[in-house]
Symmetry: C2
Subunit: 239 residues, 2 copies
DNA sequence: AACCGCTTGTGAACGCAGGTACAAAGTCGC
DNA sequence: GCGACTTTGTACCTGCGTTCACAAGCGGTT
């Protein structure tokens, strides 16, 4: 509807609108490139990159085309050039302050996960409701009481909030984060958060992942014979 | 290939083939229902469930329709009845043995995450390459050396493998799991695993999630107004 | 017993993502 | 300098997922 009109206006100034699925893959490409940069190779073809990233070569080229032409025909993509292009598209290399609420086992694991820091995500605030945990040092940061949420967000200008609390309190924590100015939330609690417009939420639901695998597993070998496999003649998959 | 032939046979006995996206949501509905079962209410409407799960009511009804008619028109869905239906569809309540490779902070967090056990997923094998960690007890299970991988999988008949190792060794661990008989893998390592046909892999990439949020954040405030928000009159919904 | 309102279940349209195939373009070899 | 090969970038198509809208069905009420 307005999409076509929009693109007319935007095509020149801004490259294009990038689908969210593509953005997620761009991040993957960037990491693959980081591994490749160590090697001497100065160029990669879409086929090589796609194989390393586990996607279709044509899809990869389409993804990259959202950034405008960034390869050389007949040669491939410059590793360093593409890295710069991707980092720029994904928001630069500037350090992005994050606050993490709920320092349980999962929260602690995320707090000192090296993969975040290397991509510019830095946890500048760790918050927990349990007085026992307050004062602990996790991943180079000290756990503070949940009451400090608003001041921590304000002081650090954190734009991203990560919620690893129990499900019951996730919504209230979310509300406080949003009120404090956080506009991007990564939610590990198994609830659907409701947020006002202009706030982005991404949900990671670990038990759902396992449940999907269990379903696929069950679906694969049908009725799952109770003891040993009798192989009852033909009919293959009964249910 | 055989898919079409399959559906021909199955169409009558079993409703249909269930899309993977739907399966993921069914798991969510099941958890929401578990919370509702505590309350006295015997019935829920699609609207209530959808609101709690954060989805569209019509989509929820379509999802449930894959299980055949399971609601009563004019009333809604029986909470207990729907729970049974969903648990059956998702593979019953039987305990599903899982092995977890890589007992770092993240692995340890997953190993004693209560949300898994309550849904029937039980970690019967914890494996790590670090001799320092071998022998530790995490979540009611003892960490064993990675060399025991094959025997652990064989003894416990584990059907699901979870990989929380560093990226460099994830593929070799994956290969060994598959060779040992594991056919469902949940991968937290930031690499694309290649597996033979008949094996399902689901990937959880935490830094990609953050990176997508960072992109949306940057995209939202475009040129990033340096100091205060000007609020440029109308323009209503920007995106 | 019949009506009314509410809720389910489903058919159709829309939009989006992924895959295929081909044309444009640039480099390497001769 | 020219031709052939390689690789990108893109247009088209197909299939999936999601949403809208409506008919069918059931309970409560009079």
């Amino acid at each position: 509807m307005f999409g076509s009109l929009w693109s007319l206006l935007v095509t020149e100034s801004r490259p294009r609108i990038i689908p969210e699925a593509t953005v997620a893959r761009l991040a993957v490409y960037l990491r693959v490139l980081a591994g490749l940069a160590g090697d001497g190779c100065g160029h990669v073809s879409s086929g090589e990159l796609a194989a390393a990233a586990g996607v279709n070569p044509a899809g990869l080229r389409k993804d990259l085309s959202y950034l405008g032409p960034c390869g050389v025909r007949g040669v491939g993509y410059s590793v360093s050039g593409l890295r710069e292009r991707l980092t720029a598209a994904l928001g630069g290399e500037r350090s992005r302050p994050c606050v993490l609420v709920g320092i349980g086992r999962l929260g602690a694991a995320l707090a000192d996960y090296a993969g975040f820091a290397s991509r510019g995500f830095q946890f500048v605030g760790l918050l927990d409701a349990d007085p026992e945990r307050v004062g602990d040092r996790v991943g180079g940061c000290t756990v503070r009481p949940i009451a400090d949420l608003e001041s921590v967000v304000a002081d650090t200008e954190a734009a991203i909030g990560v919620i690893t609390t129990p499900a019951e309190v996730a919504q209230s924590v979310c509300d406080r984060l949003v009120a404090a100015g956080v506009r991007s939330i990564l939610n590990f609690a198994p609830v659907a958060l409701t947020v006002p417009g202009g706030v982005d939420v991404r949900k990671v639901d670990l038990s759902v992942e396992l449940q999907v695998l269990a379903f696929l597993d069950q679906q694969r070998d049908g009725g799952r014979p109770p003891v040993t496999v009798p192989v009852p003649a033909a009919l293959g998959a009964q249910r």
